[in-house]
């Protein structure tokens, strides 16, 4: 058993636990950045798969991602260590708050800070939309650098970037299913998976 690895996994997930606000989709960019780019625990496409799986399996997305990343690097024990790491800050912070609940509830300072964080979280979730679009509707990341170079007149080679019409079609169908027809998330994603197998 590699204790050094387990220790660093635990610390990574403690940090994620501290900086997760709002839960659900809002945590996707943070997890993406830390797990895929900074610590290279997961490949970008595997991360996308995990978030997708988290949508159709029980439990919070963050816990699912932690269990998954931990399992990939240290099987059952790794999964347990990452999950507990994510739990640790919640246990400490929320326990303290419940203890002093009356003082916290009316705190104007907390309300003021949250009035800034809450709209920022909306921006993060929108970034998560782009992140998923780049792995389904488009064939790669949107080449912002190339577009910027073009605008400023620098000659740049065109990157390998294209629209995937099947992805766009599935996106549109899922949008109608969920937004207009209010069909259950699980059925919408099951349909998306079937369309993926048929079309792509």
């Amino acid at each position: 058993m590699n204790f050094e690895l387990l220790g660093s996994l635990y610390l990574i997930f403690i940090k994620l636990g501290v900086f997760t606000f709002g839960g659900g989709y809002a945590m996707i960019p943070l997890f993406h950045e830390e797990l895929v780019y900074r610590h290279e625990l997961l490949s970008p496409s595997l991360f996308g798969d995990i978030v997708a799986i988290a949508q159709i399996t029980p439990g919070p997305i963050g816990i699912n991602a932690a269990t998954f990343a931990g399992y990939m690097h240290g099987t059952l024990i790794g999964a347990a260590v990452c999950t507990l790491g994510l739990l640790t800050p919640s246990l400490i912070i929320v326990s303290i708050i419940v203890h002093f609940t009356a003082r916290f509830k009316g705190s104007k300072i907390v309300k003021a800070i949250m009035s800034g964080i809450r709209p920022a979280v909306i921006g993060f979730i929108f970034a998560a939309v782009m992140f998923f679009a780049e792995m389904s509707i488009f064939t790669s990341q949107i080449p912002l650098h190339y577009i910027w170079d073009k605008i400023s007149g620098i000659a740049a080679t065109a990157p390998d970037f294209a629209l995937r019409w099947q992805g766009l079609l599935i996106f549109a169908i899922a949008l109608i299913c969920s937004g207009k027809l209010k069909i259950n998330i699980i059925w919408t994603l099951l349909l998306s998976a079937i369309l993926g197998v048929i079309l792509i």
Binding site: T57, K105, R118, F171
Partner: protein, 199 residues
């Protein structure tokens, strides 16, 4: 006699907390606020451990502190009912279903990762998830983005993370500071105008 009964009910409480949160987590897909109706049913109506006013506070508080909403909720209710032991029991209950299901799926995916149709299915699912998140963010945005201030912060957060690649942690801290400063500037403004009218 009374003591023994209390001790017995303490462990009973821990077990009930663990099992109840396990059940709630097992049937809520996506976590978070979706847990609310089930918690109300179990803890307010059936067990009468907390009252319904409390449960609204739970959600207000757990969303404004760091951590995963489902876990924070479990810790909050668990602590309320049975102290730190209750908090730990409830938190472990919330993560157990995910742990079992994800471990099984991860083991399967290590073997099936290279299958073509699995990849196609996941590309389809990603397109679907993209749409689901868009629907969710539009709904949330209607509630949160009420003035120019909120729109600017949301836009800046998006540009910061997506176009400039700034670390999310810095953006969260920055947004918190901006919210705090705005409150103080407004307060100063109000205080100043108050003084004027007093004079």
């Amino acid at each position: 006699m009374h003591n023994i009964e209390n001790k017995d009910s303490y462990w009973n409480k821990l077990w009930t907390l663990f099992i109840t949160f396990l059940k709630i987590a097992a049937v809520t897909v996506g976590g978070g606020v979706a847990m609310l109706p089930m918690m109300e049913e179990e803890f307010v109506r059936k067990k009468k451990w907390i009252d319904s006013e409390d449960i609204v506070d739970v959600f207000a508080i757990v969303q404004s502190v760091p951590g995963i909403i489902a876990v924070n909720t479990a810790v909050y209710v668990g602590y309320r009912v049975a102290g730190l032991g209750g908090a730990i029991a409830a938190a472990l209950g919330v993560v157990t279903p995910s742990y079992i299901v994800i471990v099984i799926i991860a083991a399967f995916m290590i073997q099936a990762g290279s299958l073509g149709w699995v990849n196609s299915a996941f590309t389809g699912i990603r397109a679907g998830v993209c749409a689901l998140i868009l629907v969710a963010v539009i709904g949330l945005g209607r509630k949160v983005l009420k003035s120019k201030f909120e729109w600017i912060i949301a836009g800046a957060a998006f540009i910061g993370i997506y176009m400039l690649g700034i670390n999310v942690i810095w953006l969260i801290l920055g947004a918190g500071v901006v919210g705090y400063m705005r409150y103080f500037l407004q307060k100063k403004h109000i205080d100043a105008s108050k003084e004027e009218s007093d004079a």
